[in-house]
Symmetry: C2
Subunit: 450 residues, 2 copies
């Protein structure tokens, strides 16, 4: 039997991130300002350092990873690629299943890949404080970790429903020295506006973004950071796919289908984009973004210009959206509760280069538990989405007899999500199909462009 | 700068465990039965499979690791050895600090190293069910994992105070298919006896052991497993120290002092025993077992024959003990709340071959947080004991200018212990010095031998 883990030495941590914008068939649609004109770098300077703004707009194929960032990556990278021998056996499938495990980072997910880079660039720019939002708490804890590594203060606006469901993510952020607030708060205009209308609002990523952006824009020593959606975040995450390509070379194999959970797109982009080059070379390869049926952005949303936040502070981005005022139901995969999606992933989906698939909540937990019982690791609910889609494909391979190579990104562990597993075992979780009327209604609330 | 992680390929997973009994200056004192005579293998056959009983009594230096056990080890082993560059910098010490990280196992600690072996031998012996006790939940979740891997049912008696403080450890065990009960329960004679005297008993490892042993002894299809204390458990844990020796060779270094947390001794024995050979060769090397001041077995206990459980069901073992009816205060390092200690570690301590040191609770959290802020990983409270002792030594090196090589076993992560961190931040945790009177009193309660 071949090795279970395909490992790389630290010298194989990528020296450059891969920028998919260099290879897209059509240039990415620009973000637009309130006047309908493309926003220039200046419009972003109040909340981002120059280096990040450059990356957001760059068409360079390869962007060098600064040495201090690689130094921090060495605390957990390269992450292992696993061959899921035991899961294959349990399923009785002829498919070969691989997963890249990003839960080895101290924060337990792939999120620090970008948090560390963003903290570094802000520190270099003389910034002292960072704000951000967090859903499941994975991004917030990653930024808390990264801020601590580079000596920056961090304030995290945490979506209230997650703040209450995941108190231990909060403790973890505090261990790394960050301050955590339940959003919506009464400390920002944006938060107060929401609370006036919906005093019991469970919060959403969109609302928390509004709060964090508002604070960053109003203080010179403070910048804003985002854990997904934007081009530079997906860029930083490409270390996942780049390492995986090298690991597949070592394994003497290559994926036929890649699955990754998709909320804002950082996870999916990070693992899938570096494989696009191979696909462009004529190789048969399916890249599947897996999202919750309760928040079906790519599969049922509108491809339109919309705000990234709930209140309308950000530039308009062309993406699949359920409407910026969408507040998704409180399902447990907090990291996937976002009204929009990465403009890069959205455009590639629109152009038929990547696929999307929506899965129901109960099926994702069923898949995650089957995975845990075979492979040991208890996955994050977000990761369970990719696992569910991958297991479905492995079962189809069993029926057809095809020995496909399947690969998914195990974006994080579920150690801070056991309350969700508890509720699953207690029969308290339900499936939820987002209503068609709500999607129709969102059309009317999309901002007018130009 | 040298690599942060020293990794080994799967082919370097040890093929044999190291049995320290072969190299002890004096043969280990035998366990005694109620009649004061050494117990033979037969006395243990009601609750252990033959292969485990053989290992418990073997004087063979090297014992082969069965291939199916190594197959499961490959899910996470070899575990990484880290050079703590950032912690060294933060402390400004000339010491070189290394730590072996056992938190990479699916259960998050070193405990699966023995759980997997015990589950395997029981399955081979035709056993269908396993019982066990758990304190912090680390052993229980490890056995749940291992039972699932080998198709055995698992029932875990979890110390009540931990059951309440750590609900998510319970959910994790359930994810792996185990049943978890808060001990003392009313399902066993032992549990009912305790509850009659102390209806509000917070439980203890000793009580939970009584319950698990009683159930195993009364059912032919059921055996008992223990996560520490016994010789075979320490034997299985030597994979840690064996890997570390190879990793130090690769690093071109060798420890001057080794620190490990010590409750029942499996963690300390696992990392320290394989280094004893080097020490016997005349090498200057200190092996330091670090225990909580609230449960100071090695540093203040009596070296005497005592029961392994609270009720007196087990054979008598010669060990450091605070008395088998000792119920330690509810400090959060649940894994270290045990009245006794491994007979092997006890004898080596009595003979001056290994050292022991007691640390206070607040200092351990302070050390753990300093570690997390430098190295990223949030450690388990048990591990914080070793970190505190190691940081103290690194600070002494700073004063003396000595560039010692310090090594500690980071036995697990703290993802299921964030409530304890929370309480630390809230100022709710206290130091606790075990009262001298209680230790004197324990003398009178020790069982009469022979």
């Amino acid at each position: 039997m071949s090795d279970t883990k395909i490992l790389l030495p630290e010298s194989d941590i990528p020296t450059h991130w891969y920028n998919v914008m260099a290879d897209m068939p059509n240039p990415p649609a620009p973000p637009l300002g309130p006047d309908g004109q493309p926003v220039g770098p200046d419009a972003l300077a109040a909340i981002f350092p120059d280096a990040v703004i450059e990356q957001e707009m760059s068409a360079e194929r390869w962007i060098e990873i600064p040495e201090p960032v690689r130094e921090i990556y060495r605390l957990w990278r390269p992450s292992p690629l696993f061959r899921a021998h035991r899961l294959e056996q349990a399923l009785g499938t002829p498919a070969r299943i691989y997963y890249k495990y990003e839960g080895v980072s101290p924060a337990g997910s792939h999120k620090p890949n970008s948090a560390v880079a963003q903290a570094y660039y802000n520190q270099q720019a003389g910034i002292k404080r960072l704000t951000t939002e967090t859903g499941a708490g994975q991004w917030g804890s990653s930024l808390a970790l990264a801020g601590q590594m580079f000596g920056l203060e961090v304030r995290v606006y945490m979506v209230k429903v997650s703040y209450e469901q995941k108190p231990f993510r909060r403790s973890m952020m505090q261990t790394w020295g960050a301050e955590v607030l339940a959003s919506p708060t009464d400390r920002t205009e944006a938060g107060r506006g929401i609370l006036a209308k919906h005093p019991d609002s469970p919060g959403s990523l969109g609302i928390a973004i509004s709060e964090a952006v508002e604070e960053a824009a109003s203080r010179a020593d403070t910048n804003y950071t985002l854990g997904s959606v934007l081009n530079h975040v997906l860029l930083h995450q490409t270390v996942i796919g780049l390492e995986a390509r090298k690991q597949f070379e070592l394994a003497g194999d290559f994926p036929d289908v890649i699955f990754a959970p998709c909320g804002g797109g950082s996870n999916f982009g990070g693992v899938a984009f570096p494989f696009l080059e191979a696909k462009a070379g004529g190789r048969e390869l399916r890249l599947v973004a897996v999202e919750p049926a309760s928040c079906p952005t790519l599969t049922r949303g509108h491809y339109a210009y919309d705000f990234g936040d709930s209140v309308g502070l950000t530039p308009l981005m062309l993406m699949y959206t359920l409407g910026h005022d969408f507040v998704p139901p409180g399902i447990h995969a907090g990291g996937l509760r976002y009204h929009g999606d990465s403009p890069l992933v959205s455009q590639l989906h629109k152009e038929g280069i990547v696929e999307a698939q929506a899965v129901q909540q109960l099926a994702t937990f069923e898949a995650g538990i089957a995975f845990a019982r075979a492979e040991g690791i208890v996955p994050a609910p977000e990761s369970n989405h990719a696992i569910a889609a991958c297991i479905d494909e492995a079962r189809r391979c069993k029926e057809s007899g095809e020995a496909k190579t399947l690969f998914f990104n195990l974006s994080g562990h579920g150690h801070f999500d056991m309350a969700a597993y508890d509720r699953y075992f207690a029969g308290e979780l339900e499936d939820y199909e987002y209503p068609a009327e709500a999607i129709d209604e969102a059309l009317h609330n999309l901002p007018k462009v130009g």
